[in-house]
Symmetry: C2
Subunit: 667 residues, 2 copies
């Protein structure tokens, strides 16, 4: 096996040179691309490609298409949201919840210190819930699933068009041997190849580390839950009425912010860990290295970003038990429940804060702030160093382009850019059923993001080496996997987290007059307050003479034969929820297949042109063969010399000849 | 637009020639392929391809791979079946059903004339059901879903290998203009193109006709249901005890046979209808014509073959109502129910008879019998015609190969062959949960089928024109669609048709000791016999003093508050069934994705060789360029003449030059 390890890479690695980079020459690109005044224009993709190479060109083309397609998604999202706003007063369940005449005495939300309360207190959350929990969201999540398919199909077309335009259709990527591999290989020069034994520790370490990291994420989420439970319990003990009424808002908000901080910190750590782990694996080529790194980083960051959201969507409030038999963790802390308005509202808050917070902080702080600070720091260091250097250096030399560029941060690849967008794509597709405004926020972010990235690439980073690339590689697979995953997640969000199915079931199975009147009453079960566990019944009772209190669940009433068992309604609604998941998933998958089939991967005009060129190329090849034949003939019979034909051959059955050639070569 | 319509096709169309075909020369192929004594050997695919061309070669390669992969599937199927046989005596529910001490008095199976009956009478069907309704089948249907994915992935590889070997990797298929299109086009010579207006009647007629045909299939299925209901009712009136006891067997068997006959007849009709409809559409090229024809024929034949099976699997017995409130159709015929052993048994009978019957009759009668009869008929006709011809023709001329071949049937394409196999593939995958022996029967059929087809192709049909083909075309899409469809169908068969889920739910939710004891009792609801509708209660009562009878359903008992409503168990089990569908479908889809990802489409050795050849080809091309350059130089400077290098060039950065060429061509 032959390993080439020479050229500028080797010289830099050996410390002969400090760094090597192409020089910037940005005026045109800056004018046409990296200013906020061209926000509304398409990006000059060809110019970008000329300046930075195909790989970066493709990234910006992809980002542009994604942003473009977010426009219709945002519009539909806004319409769905407005529909929710418009119908809020006609929503019978929330009207019923707000009606103080419906005197539902609810069971206390915590042991001892909490009192009974009236359901009408939860009026505002119920009304807010309706904004995100209405039939419009069901439609919207179907729409967004199909949108994701359309996006991928359109990207395939756009990519095909670009690779054709940029003459990459026949590009075969070179194998660039990874630097680490060379080092490890050189150390073990006695062996010809890295054996299985050399690799096992790497793989094993990898596996264990990833499991550990995922465990870390989960424990962070769990820690926040504990925080929430314990603070809630502590605050409930307080006698200050004002504190008490704000408990939920305070706790929820602080908890989400803690979550967000944890996510941001772990995100940075995980990026470093993924690189370290991939280096441990010693993959052979740069391409494999990058793919493995991306997969690992994606896995870790995905779990990190979404773990707390998954918890709120599917687990929160489902292990809380029921009055008289609550589930306790640690020192008799009761497991948390969702607000009376339903978990969807909390999911929406969680989602919006994490999505917006992540975008704002990562974009502004990390992408602009940190490089500026680094620059500033270097400037300060330079200034301090200057007095000594002043004497040594020639003071007359003017700062050249390479001096200016040297001061910039080195370019480190597109992975962070893609990763950020893919995680955002997850917010836009995965939980869109609970937050129809997600595409709008993504759109607003991306319009800025494109120019921010542009500025960064032309003004704050050293110019990147031009790298050829045919496609966006593994990111496409991740995107398409995410699109598929989003279908089942949305199905479950609608079926399990939202109240859509219970409402439908009530309307068609239990309602007396086919309307939603009485739905709230139907969702509340009864509890006989004499059955509270010892010492858990509320101490300060403002409510007098309470015999039964109500709680949100479908269970048998105390006077039933099997009191507090799940009722028939519970099972019927569960069956309906699951049936909805099946129908939704299969419908959306079918629609996606149809859409994918309707949008061909290669645009018609491109495929026609490719075909034509192939024929032309064959003709040229044939002419060459013809010339050669003529030439050979002319050498064989020097007396009957002929001028070889150069321009016009006979080229009739080009394919046949071409094939014979291939067959000859194969031998 | 230029339409070429000349050559032998035009001459035949104009009646100048009667037909044109390549001559047979079969001895070698017959020896190596078309004899039953080579049954156990691989097919000589390369020989077949040489003799018949790529298209037919690919068909037999595909059929060979399919048959090969049916071997493991059959083995696992047999093991699952044997597992069922072995555990039949340990199956508590069927033991309980057979135990005459468990005195379950069942409600009568028909109005008036039927008596109450004891559940132990259904002992044998319960035992038989267990053969196909055990945990093994769940495993087997997961296995078969993955098997289908593996089959498709393997075929992709095999196809790649063959196209490489047969030098088709760069083949671009020619557009052959369809005959009908030319005729229609010539008629409308004033127009340049067939306009939308010319096509609308075709498309519309198509749509309506297909709907009509599908309606026809459904009404045929419905007709058989009516037959079954009415004959059952008529036989029940008979006083002959012997007749009565055999009712179910007689009716079921005759009904399935009628179904089978209807399927066979409609199959032939639908084939003709699909051709007619496609001709009406006037597609432009032969390829589009074939694709549309195949899609239509497949749709019709698929519905035709499986409609009655779908009915038994998912609808039979679900609209029968309950004692005291049966559903009646027409003249007070009660809707049919499944046998007490469960619908799965009937599904299995239906499936096996239709599958075996279709294979035996279509293979033997239609594929061998009909051609022989045609041959015989033609011989007889010839003989009758001979006396007249005898005088005209020269009696001395010996029969040549073309004379012999002329007597054979003309070759009409591969569509019927593929179609037969695809429908069989459906039997093997779609309902495999109810019939684990299906792969075995398919395997046995195919081993014969290959040689039968071989004989047909070499001895009973005129030799086919060699047609080039890169792949099996639209059949691959149909196969893969069928594989996907089979996942959801099998999920539903296990969840809804079989007793797998109710058993699990009973064991983990309702059983006192975690065993299956008492399951049979749990599945039977109570009916108060005093509540029979006027005139429907059994007349001749052998059972004395019956107060309540039992029926198979999950409903509230008569003494409950809401008697005869669906019980809590019903909804719990329904929820469990649907949950199973979701888990099964997503698990299998995930497994399929993993398998598809693990098996790369192009075998490693082939991709390496393709790459190498490409480089070689580029080198050759480059050398030509070099020669040309030398030549031009030599002409430009006639004084410094050089011999052009012919064999060894410099070929370092071949790609670059190659690319410049492409770019030049594009302009």
């Amino acid at each position: 096996m032959f390993l080439s390890f020479s050229g500028i890479t080797a010289l830099i690695a050996n410390g002969v040179y400090d760094s090597a980079y192409p020089l910037h020459d940005v005026s045109l690109l800056y004018q046409a691309w990296a200013r906020y005044s061209v926000l509304y224009k398409y990006q000059p993709i060809d110019l970008i490609r000329k300046y930075f190479g195909e790989e970066i060109g493709l990234y910006f083309a992809w980002l542009g298409l994604y942003t473009e397609l977010l426009i219709p998604a945002s519009l539909v999202g806004i319409i769905v949201f407005l529909y929710g706003c418009a119908t809020i007063d006609n929503d019978i369940p929330s009207v019923e919840m707000c009606d103080e005449k419906n005197n539902f005495t609810m069971c206390p939300l915590c042991d001892k210190s909490c009192d009974y309360w009236n359901l009408s207190n939860a009026c505002s959350t119920a009304r807010a819930s309706h904004l995100f929990d209405n039939p419009g969201t069901v439609f919207f999540s179907i729409f967004m699933a199909v949108w994701a398919t359309v996006f991928l199909a359109c990207w395939k077309r756009r990519q095909m068009r670009l690779t054709y335009k940029w003459d990459l259709t026949v590009l075969e990527e070179e194998e660039v041997i990874n630097y680490c591999f060379i080092i490890v290989f050189l150390e073990q020069a006695d062996n010809d190849k890295l054996t299985w034994k050399d690799r096992v520790p790497g793989y094993l370490g990898n596996f264990v580390s990833i499991l550990f990291m995922i465990g870390l994420t989960f424990s962070a989420v769990f820690g926040v839950i504990i925080y929430r439970i314990s603070v809630e319990a502590a605050m409930a003990l307080s006698t200050n009425e004002n504190t008490k009424s704000n408990i939920r808002v305070t706790v929820t908000t602080t908890a989400v912010i803690i979550n967000l901080l944890v996510i941001l910190i772990l995100d940075e750590i995980y990026g470093a860990v993924a690189t370290w782990l991939t280096e441990m694996e010693v993959p052979k080529t740069e391409k494999i290295f990058e793919e493995r790194l991306i997969l690992k980083a994606f896995l870790l960051k995905f779990v990190n970003s979404y773990a707390s959201i998954f918890y709120v969507a599917f687990f929160k409030g489902r292990f809380a038990g029921r009055p008289g038999q609550y589930v306790y963790v640690f020192n008799n802390f009761r497991m948390e429940e969702c607000a009376p308005g339903g978990c969807l509202m909390e999911l929406c808050i969680q989602l919006s804060i994490i999505m917006l917070g992540k975008q704002l902080i990562q974009n502004n702080l990390f992408e602009i702030g940190v490089p500026r600070m680094k620059k500033l720091y270097r400037k300060l260091k330079d200034k301090r160093a200057e007095p000594e250097e002043l004497t040594n250096s020639t003071p007359t030399r003017q700062a050249q382009q390479w001096d200016q560029d040297y001061k910039l941060e080195p370019y480190t690849g597109l992975t962070p850019e893609y990763m950020e967008m893919i995680i955002q794509f997850g917010f836009v597709t995965l939980f869109v059923a609970s937050f129809p405004l997600a595409p709008l926020f993504a759109l607003l972010n991306n319009i800025i993001e494109i120019r921010l990235d542009a500025k960064k690439f032309v003004a704050e980073l050293r110019r990147a080496d031009a790298v050829r690339a045919k496609d966006i590689g593994i990111w496409y697979i991740i995107l398409s996997g995410m699109g598929k995953f989003s279908v089942i997640i949305n199905a479950f969000v609608i079926a399990v987290t939202s109240d859509f199915i219970p409402r439908l079931v009530y309307q068609y199975m239990y309602s007396d007059d086919g309307s939603m009147h009485g739905f709230v009453n139907h969702t509340l079960s009864y509890f006989n307050v004499s059955e509270f566990q010892q010492g858990t019944n509320p101490q300060s009772v403002q409510f007098i003479n309470v015999k039964v209190c109500r709680y949100k669940d479908y269970r048998e009433p105390p006077w039933s034969e099997d009191a507090y068992d799940y009722s028939k309604e519970y099972w019927a609604i569960l069956a309906a929820r699951l049936a909805f998941v099946i129908i939704f998933q299969n419908l959306v998958m079918f629609l996606s297949e149809v859409v994918d089939w309707l949008i061909p991967g290669t645009p018609k005009d491109i495929s026609v042109r490719i075909k034509k060129e192939k024929t032309l190329l064959d003709d040229v090849f044939l002419k060459k063969e013809d010339e050669k034949l003529q030439l050979i003939k002319s050498f064989l019979k020097p007396n009957q010399r002929q001028k070889p034909k150069v321009a016009n051959g006979m080229a009739t059955s080009s394919w046949h000849c071409f094939h014979i050639n291939c067959t000859l070569l194969r031998k």
